[in-house]
Symmetry: C2
Subunit: 223 residues, 2 copies
């Protein structure tokens, strides 16, 4: 399978790229608005993977549109305020055969902590679904993972990620893909309309990390 | 310590009463708007505890105000739409020495699932703090526990509960109290202003339970 990681030079993109490269055989297409930046990041990821004895990973760098054009699954690992514009920038290459996956979460910090701050659509997942062509299946996933831990290949994961989406077949594809990452379990949280409750766990894990010394890179298990 | 469980005849009140009765030596005051109903519930709880070999538990039934008047910690285990009125009904007996604990969550269900539906104050925890006299410490806790599992003393818990509150000493008292329940760990999620993200996990666990067969009574661990 070909997986595009748009915004793949950012922190969640880095972690997902490294984990997919180590734990799966999928072809990884790192995307950025600037293809040079994508290729530089790929060089860094290859060096990091080499230091973890992962030989010859199948990763290359492209601009976002070119990465999405070639992909079966396109992960929008961009900041939440770029999610809509990134969809617009690639919508010419999206179709019913490309699953769009969105891990971004709108948040706002103040002196008390981080707070969930969704766009007018109700959640970033629903915003992405509104902006994408109607026939494109949109799945929310990979929201509540600590980026630092994800990108640290020496850290063992024992975490869950939640999926939301209205297309059961696309959701099953993403569930299966997420489960290929060692130590990650993917659970179904229902349709896209349930995305806000999933996304709002992300500011919560940041607050928990801040207030509990032993939980620096905290994630979640549903038990 | 004396613990009042207002609305202690409801499902979360039942579970907390049974667990506190079995796992701690605190005096438990089950409150209801109707003291007869509270006393009937206490009879049921004693029978249930007896069937789990818990002898002579220290539980009695009162109307809500009388229970709160005698308590060091008062848990508002009432439905979210009664939380404010319940505070108003007992505010003559509340003072700086009574910690008010609120586990209620505003939710709304539709065909997609359960959704977080906070009151205008931003969260039930903040609503309770607004309605209580200024000097009363308010702590949000016990939000994300499956009531059925909590009330089933044969079920082993291995769960976390999150605390929010602005009074560190009251929060520490509730943390310590919660930790006396076998298998329950209490973590700090920061000030009351962070309550919405904590409360919104409750509709999320209901959605996860609905969509994943193996997670009928699901709760959460922050790991």
């Amino acid at each position: 399978m070909r997986i595009a990681l748009l915004g793949g030079t950012g922190d969640i993109g880095e972690g997902l790229t490294l984990r997919f490269a180590r734990d799966t055989d999928h072809e990884l297409l790192v995307g950025s608005r600037d293809p040079e930046k994508a290729r530089d990041a790929v060089d860094d990821y290859k060096a990091e993977l080499d230091s973890h004895a992962v030989d010859d990973p199948d990763i290359s760098g492209f601009d976002n549109e070119m990465a999405a054009d070639r992909a079966d699954v396109t992960i929008l690992s961009v900041p939440p305020y770029y999610a809509g514009d990134t969809v617009d920038a690639i919508d010419g290459v999206l179709d019913a055969d490309t699953i769009l996956v969105t891990p971004a979460v709108g948040m706002k910090g103040d002196e008390d902590g981080m707070h969930y701050h969704p766009p007018g659509a109700g959640s970033v997942s629903e915003l992405v679904a509104q902006r994408a062509p109607d026939e494109v299946p949109v799945i929310g996933a990979f929201h509540n993972l600590a980026a630092g831990k994800l990108a640290d290949l020496s850290a063992e994961l024992d975490l869950d990620t939640l999926l939301v989406g209205d297309d059961d077949s696309a959701k099953e594809t993403v569930r299966s893909l997420a489960s290929e990452i060692d130590g990650l379990r993917a659970l179904d949280a229902g349709p896209l309309a349930n995305a806000a409750e999933v996304e709002s766990v992300t500011p919560l894990v940041i607050n928990i990390a801040k207030h509990n010394d032993e939980l620096h890179d905290v994630g979640v298990k549903w038990v």
